[in-house]
């Protein structure tokens, strides 16, 4: 099976987000970078499918030159090769992002044959647009399932399972080639090994530089939500607090079932 995984470089924000003085960006001076959690799982899933069934995997990102780090990370756990659509670091709108990815996929497929499966994370951790994978699938005329937490690729089709809106699970069997947007929980991503990292250094990265364009959604400024910082009222310590806690449960009306 021939698989492509699309990822996005995002800051590892840790406990608290700090913005630049003009509010245009997250202050990343003291931050490391990673890919979104859903995408880490997408990369792991691609590697597992190829390990189990044979084939090849590639990882693609649209981002600054420094996103090479995230491509090497993916190759360190077993992805075969990488594609970097290099930008000048500006934000790309979801339509422009999807268009650039589609153009790259078409060129890749013309040269190296079709991808049976294209994996995305369900939404990026930073901008959270919930749409790039769906747009890419539509442009390529391929079926797309999102929110996926289990994947069983077979001959000619794939079964994708996700949590149903009202509890329980629902599954979709769609023909290949297909696009699947996965969520954290589909697997537990491995850590790269040292030999894996060394091998990743020698793997190929194909580079191109698509042109930025405006496509209808444009960031003005970022700001932190005004969170009410409360100071919790300490109603007790240790086991002795139990009567006060049950009084509280009674008072807010959650004791009567």
């Amino acid at each position: 099976m021939n698989i492509l995984v699309c990822v996005k470089r995002v800051p590892a924000t840790g406990g608290r987000i700090v913005l630049t003085a003009d509010g245009s960006e997250i202050d990343v001076r003291y931050l490391g970078f990673t890919v979104s959690p859903h995408e880490e799982c997408a990369v792991e899933e691609a590697v597992r499918i190829v390990e189990a069934q044979g084939g090849a995997s590639a990882v693609l990102t649209l981002g600054p030159a420094a996103a090479e780090e995230q491509l090497r990370d993916a190759m360190a756990i077993g992805v075969d090769r990488a594609i970097l659509l290099e930008t000048d670091g500006r934000d790309w709108d979801p339509i422009a992002t999807a268009d650039a990815i589609v153009e790259s996929i078409r060129a890749e497929e013309a040269a190296n044959g079709p991808f049976d499966l294209i994996l995305f994370g369900n939404e990026s951790a930073d901008s959270g647009g919930f749409q790039v994978g769906i747009r890419v699938a539509h442009a390529l005329g391929r079926p797309c399932v999102s929110g996926v937490k289990a994947l069983q690729p077979g001959a000619g089709s794939v079964v994708a399972r996700r949590e149903a809106a009202g509890g329980g699970w629902e599954s979709f069997e769609v023909p290949l080639p297909a696009v699947v947007a996965v969520k954290e929980g589909i697997n537990l991503p491995r850590y790269p090994s040292v030999p894996g990292r060394l091998r990743a250094r020698k793997k190929e990265i194909a580079r191109s530089t698509p042109a930025w364009r405006s496509a209808g959604l444009e960031k003005i400024v970022l700001r932190l939500p005004q969170t009410e910082v409360t100071t919790a009222e300490v109603i007790g310590r240790g086991a002795d607090a139990a009567p006060a806690v049950v009084d509280l449960l009674d008072r807010i009306g959650v004791l009567d079932r």
């Binding site: 924000t13 997250i26 999807a98 809106a165 509890g167 960031k219 970022l222 100071t231 240790g238």
Partner: protein, 331 residues
């Protein structure tokens, strides 16, 4: 400006769900601000849609549009996208507003892809300015906000759950139902639900529970959740956990609360041994009351919680369960 604002209404158990009512509330305000009419597009078959439309009295919606196609069921996300895209193309609304749930975002993204229009997910507020909208939307699952411009002939946006008040009903009647025939191709129905597994019997979902008992690193192990399960049983509560807990395999991933898991909005959230990292906090912000049980009085959760008990959860939680039992047996 005039024209119409179209709100997408998802139906659960015969009635519009809460996230759709929130989307309707924002759509209603937008319609009022721009002098547009408010219309609802109901995502359900004809019979169900009729009942759901009756439940929309008092929201000032003038029409309830029902897509008519024999093959279209809620098992077809792409089919619904095709139907909505056709309605948008024929009626040309100024805006389409949907719920910012997993499914709501997915559906509007599919519509946006078909129409080649931009879409803004998880908005909190909208201000119409000339031909474009100035939006505030969530980034990082709500730990950061973005103000942005949305510029398109029809603006597509979803409303972040639990951020917009559903609002008061007025005396307006239930919207008149308008059945709109849609044409679907086989390709529109390729993506469809081919299998279902019912939820575990007797299990209360995190999304529906009135009380949620959450565990973090402080729980210490999968077995450590027994204390939380016991309290949850007594309260009719659901049990969830932070990302630490699901990554360690102490709980299944479906129990995760936070940025990459579920957002919850119970009456009470009891955070046991949870430090309060922002990735978790974004998932619990909509809880009405938060009680933290933690050994560390300086933990960040104390700045989010309303009440706290300082102590080891494995001592405190069983004591609470015992006290509830004691009172119910003496009552």
């Amino acid at each position: 400006m005039s024209g119409s604002v179209l709100a997408l209404v998802n139906v659960v158990g015969g009635a519009p769900d809460k996230a759709s009512l929130e989307a309707l509330a924002l759509a209603r305000r937008l319609a009022t601000d721009t002098g547009a009419t408010l219309e609802a597009l109901i995502i359900a078959d004809g019979a169900t849609a009729g009942a759901a439309a009756a439940a929309l009295a008092g929201v000032s919606a003038t029409k309830a549009i029902v897509a008519e196609h024999p093959g279209l069921t809620t098992d077809h996300p792409d089919g619904w996208a095709a139907a909505i895209a056709q309605v948008v193309e024929t009626r040309g609304p100024a805006a389409v507003v949907g719920a910012g749930t997993e499914r709501g975002n997915e559906l509007l993204a599919r519509v946006a892809a078909r129409l080649g229009l931009p879409m803004a997910a998880n908005c909190l507020s909208v201000e119409a300015s000339e031909d474009r909208y100035r939006l505030t939307r969530q980034r990082w699952a709500g730990s950061l906000l973005e103000d942005c411009w949305l510029d398109a002939p029809t603006k597509l946006l979803t409303v972040a759950p639990n951020t917009v008040a559903v609002g008061e009903r007025d005396g307006s009647p239930a919207p008149a139902i308008e059945a709109v025939p849609v044409t679907l191709t086989d390709a529109d129905l390729v993506v469809r639900v081919t299998g279902r597994e019912a939820p575990e019997r007797g299990r209360i979902s995190l999304g529906d529970a009135k009380v949620v008992v959450g565990g973090g690193r402080g729980v210490g192990s999968g077995e450590g959740f027994a204390d939380l399960e016991e309290l949850a049983e007594l309260l009719g509560a659901a049990v969830g956990g932070s990302r630490v807990v699901t990554s360690a395999g102490w709980r299944p991933h479906s129990d995760q609360i936070g940025q990459t898991g579920q957002r919850i909005a119970p009456s009470l959230y009891i955070a046991c041994g949870i430090s309060g990292a922002i990735q978790h906090v974004v998932g619990i912000k909509a809880a009405k009351h938060i009680l933290a049980i933690n050994t560390d009085p300086e933990a960040p959760i104390m700045n989010v919680a309303d009440y706290a008990v300082i102590g080891d959860l494995h001592t405190v939680v069983p004591a609470i369960s015992a006290e509830i039992r004691r009172r119910s047996s003496s009552a």
